[in-house]
């Protein structure tokens, strides 16, 4: 724990909350997840789960927060995203949320968690068994133990997030929020249902006590599970399945969060134009005149090609609308993140973070 950052006195927050009149609008703003301190972010592979988790961490940090972003047995996706060296099992600062005219800046810390190191950490904490732990790892016993008891791996990982969420220094929380880049949607129910998954394990000892602590954090109003999806059939279906699964587990108080719809392209056509474009009956003549007016050569040939592009765009937009409608029916809050057509870099992350803040996700 020696590397953990100290809790910062929440002075900055206090200043801007009670600040000059020009800041009232900002300080009065509520986010949809007031009181949530552990944000679990899941999603199907390929939907940009890690990217959205990173953007959410920045969004939560802007305004003077200190946020920890945890990668769960990932492959250094966070390091790649933030363009920094591979993360160790150690909390380190990877980005700042820039200060603006109305908001003070904040800090994003990150940690790459893996079950082996987490197990050694707990053995050390409870039994002073660091050497044994190292030997266990070398012999592959940890891998063995986590293999014959799959829940063990999960409880060690969620445990790390729960510990960071609860960690205090001089009576204050060290982190204002913790964002967990969690396993994909297909595994999320099992992953979060730790207590049941390890119920067959030792009934006393560190893991048992640990599982109870983890459960008390995860099934509390301070935790919310967000789903990242794109507007395609399979990711949306997995999101719906995931939500249904978590609702089944929610009698114990598992809180569903928002649906982050990623890579959304704006639709610039009216409904009539959309329908016409999708049917391929757009007014090509009008298009041709416009292209001519813009001074383009071969405007007729171009009009035909661009009409074909519009048709594809419209069909995609209509298909996406149908998927969006399915997500609407869940009743969970939805946030839309624009498609970043350039290479995703820090600049893109800040744009996504701003989009999340503007929509009240953070």
């Amino acid at each position: 724990m020696t590397n953990a950052p100290r809790a910062s006195a929440p002075v900055r927050r206090a200043v801007w909350c009670t600040g000059s009149d020009s800041l009232v609008g900002v300080s009065a703003r509520d986010t949809d997840w007031e009181g949530v301190r552990l944000h679990v972010v899941t999603g199907k592979g390929g939907t940009g789960k890690t990217t959205v988790a990173g953007a959410l961490a920045i969004a939560l940090a802007s305004g003077g927060g200190k946020v920890l972003l945890i990668e769960m047995e990932g492959r250094q996706g966070i390091a790649r995203l933030f363009d920094c060296p591979p993360l160790p099992y150690q909390e380190r600062r990877i980005a700042v949320a820039p200060a603006t005219a109305t908001l003070p800046g904040g800090d994003v810390y990150a940690l790459a968690a893996d079950a082996e190191t987490a197990l050694i950490e707990y053995l050390e904490m409870f039994y002073n068994l660091r050497h044994a732990g190292t030997a266990l790892t070398r012999l592959g016993v940890v891998d063995f133990a986590t293999t014959i008891a799959p829940g063990l791996r999960d409880v060690l990982l969620t445990g790390k997030a729960a510990e960071a969420t609860r960690r205090r220094f001089k009576g204050r929380h060290v982190y204002d929020a913790v964002v967990m880049d969690a396993p994909p949607t297909g595994r999320i129910g099992k992953f979060l249902n730790v207590a049941t998954e390890v119920s067959g394990l030792a009934r006393v000892g560190p893991i048992h006590g640990h599982a109870e602590t983890v459960q008390s954090v995860i099934r509390s109003p301070q935790t919310a599970v967000h789903f990242v999806t794109v507007l395609e059939e399979m990711p949306v279906q997995e999101t719906l399945d995931g939500i249904a699964e978590l609702r089944g587990l929610a009698q114990g108080g598992l809180q569903l969060g928002g649906i982050m719809i990623n890579m959304v392209r704006p639709v610039d056509l009216t409904d009539d134009e959309l329908a016409a474009a999708a049917a391929g009956t757009l007014d090509k003549h009008e298009l041709d005149l416009g292209l001519k007016a813009a001074g383009l050569e071969d405007s007729l040939g171009l009009a035909t090609s661009l009409a074909a592009e519009l048709t594809e765009h419209a069909r995609e937009a209509l298909a996406q609308r149908a998927q969006r409608h399915k997500l609407d029916e869940t009743g969970q809050p939805r946030y839309e993140l624009p498609l970043i057509t350039d290479q995703m870099d820090l600049g893109g992350l800040y744009r996504l973070a701003a989009a999340l803040r503007d929509q009240g996700a953070a």
Binding site: G46, F144, E233, P235, L291
Partner: protein, 400 residues
């Protein structure tokens, strides 16, 4: 270098096509499209899928996960392929059932029942990371051995890494064969706690820690399982090794599937390097969901400039006399939208091309096929046919 998909599909020596790649790149759709195209070109094909989208599965007549190849209705029925009537079967892998079948085939009925009821076996067969890959390979071996089909197209399990498909089966084999599982199960073999005296104190300490961490019940389940499973252990590694060799055999072709995204192409690169290391036959790279434009001669920059010209031109200069000035402030809103969309698509396409070039620069001899992004999800045979045609198009465009 373009990938000649039809030549690959038509070559009777091609017996297995493995579609691999990271999650979410369209492996299942590609596998299904290849299978359909091959069948309609006269091959007798079975497609082994692992986790298809519901509607795609339905389109192939797969309504339940029953671990048996089923004929796909309306595929290749008219026998119009260049080589006469082919056929298409499809099946969804049920990994638990495949595992159960191995157990049932290799042990006495009551012992098999004992294994199937063991809680540790149940967790191993349904949630151990690697079981799905192992069982996919196992099923592939079975299908190949049955020799009922002359082409097997395999869609690999949805894992984060493409390499898992190659590594996981051996991992499960190693695990089941491992010394640790035997050491831990020592009590049931030697009897009681007597074993404590003959093993080192260090190991005693380790089992002590393990017991503390996972508990005695789990350990007991493992021990019972090991005792019952005893005669099958060696077999598991052997089977994994056999299938691995099958993948290295000449009749196998790997297709690496990716999308024009950095992560997917990075995974594809790892995989390609691994295949060459293990002397596995790579047929090519399929890049799904690329954005190309029918109006590629109009660059993004010129398209945006044209849109801006229309938007900034003084309304009076553009409005025709018979139109009221209360209409849209922009004279040609549709053209502006089309030009902006086109610019965006060109930018996206340009970025994708750069990413692909990173890959092809590192692997210049690997044949590539591109499949354009579809506006809607593919969920019927016609959609699959269109994808198949796109896949085969790479070879044509090179000729022209």
């Amino acid at each position: 270098m373009p990938l000649d998909v039809d030549r690959l599909l038509d070559d009777p020596r091609t017996r297995i096509i493995v579609c691999c790649g990271s999650g979410g790149v369209g492996k299942t759709t590609t596998a299904a499209a290849l299978g359909l195209r091959a069948a309609e070109r006269g091959r007798h094909v079975v497609v082994l899928t692992v986790d298809p989208a519901r509607r795609l599965a339905q389109s192939m007549g797969l309504t339940s996960l029953d671990n048996t190849p089923r004929p796909v209705p309306d595929a290749a029925g008219s026998a119009t392929g260049p080589r006469g009537g082919g056929s298409l079967h499809a099946m969804m892998l049920d990994m638990k059932r495949t595992f159960d079948e191995i157990v049932e085939a290799h042990s006495e009925p009551d012992r098999a029942a004992q294994i199937l009821a063991n809680p540790f076996y149940q967790s191993l067969s349904s949630s151990f990371a690697g079981t799905q890959e192992y069982m996919a390979m196992e099923k592939l071996g079975q299908l190949r051995q049955s020799d009922e089909w002359d082409l097997i197209v395999v869609d690999t399990p949805p894992s984060r890494s493409a390499l898992d498909f190659l590594d996981a089966p051996q991992r499960l084999g190693r695990f089941l064969d491992g010394r640790l599982i035997r050491l831990l199960s020592a009590p049931t073999r030697v009897g009681g706690r007597a074993y404590m005296r003959v093993v080192t104190a260090g190991f005693g300490m380790l089992t002590g820690v393990i017991t503390k961490v996972i508990g005695t019940q789990v350990l007991r389940d493992v021990q019972t399982f090991v005792a019952a499973f005893d005669t099958m252990f060696g077999g598991f590694r052997q089977r994994a090794d056999d299938t691995y060799r099958l993948l290295q055999a000449p009749g196998t072709a790997f297709l690496v599937i990716a999308t024009p995204e950095p992560d997917a192409l990075r995974e594809a690169s790892y995989f390609v390097e691994r295949l060459s290391q293990d002397q596995m036959p790579l047929a090519g790279l399929v890049v799904n969901r690329v954005h190309r434009s029918p109006a590629a001669q109009l660059s993004a920059a010129r398209s945006l400039a044209a849109a801006e010209t229309l938007e900034s031109a003084p309304a009076s200069a553009l409005i025709s006399p018979n139109e009221t000035s209360t209409a849209s402030p922009v004279r040609y809103p549709l053209a502006v939208t089309a030009l902006r969309l086109h610019a965006e698509r060109m930018q996206l396409g340009e970025r994708e091309r750069r990413l692909e070039e990173h890959f092809t620069a590192a692997h210049p001899v690997i044949p590539v096929a591109e499949v354009p992004a579809q506006p809607e999800d593919v969920h019927d045979l016609d959609g699959l046919r269109a994808v198949g045609a796109d896949l085969a198009r790479a070879a044509d465009t090179e000729v022209s």
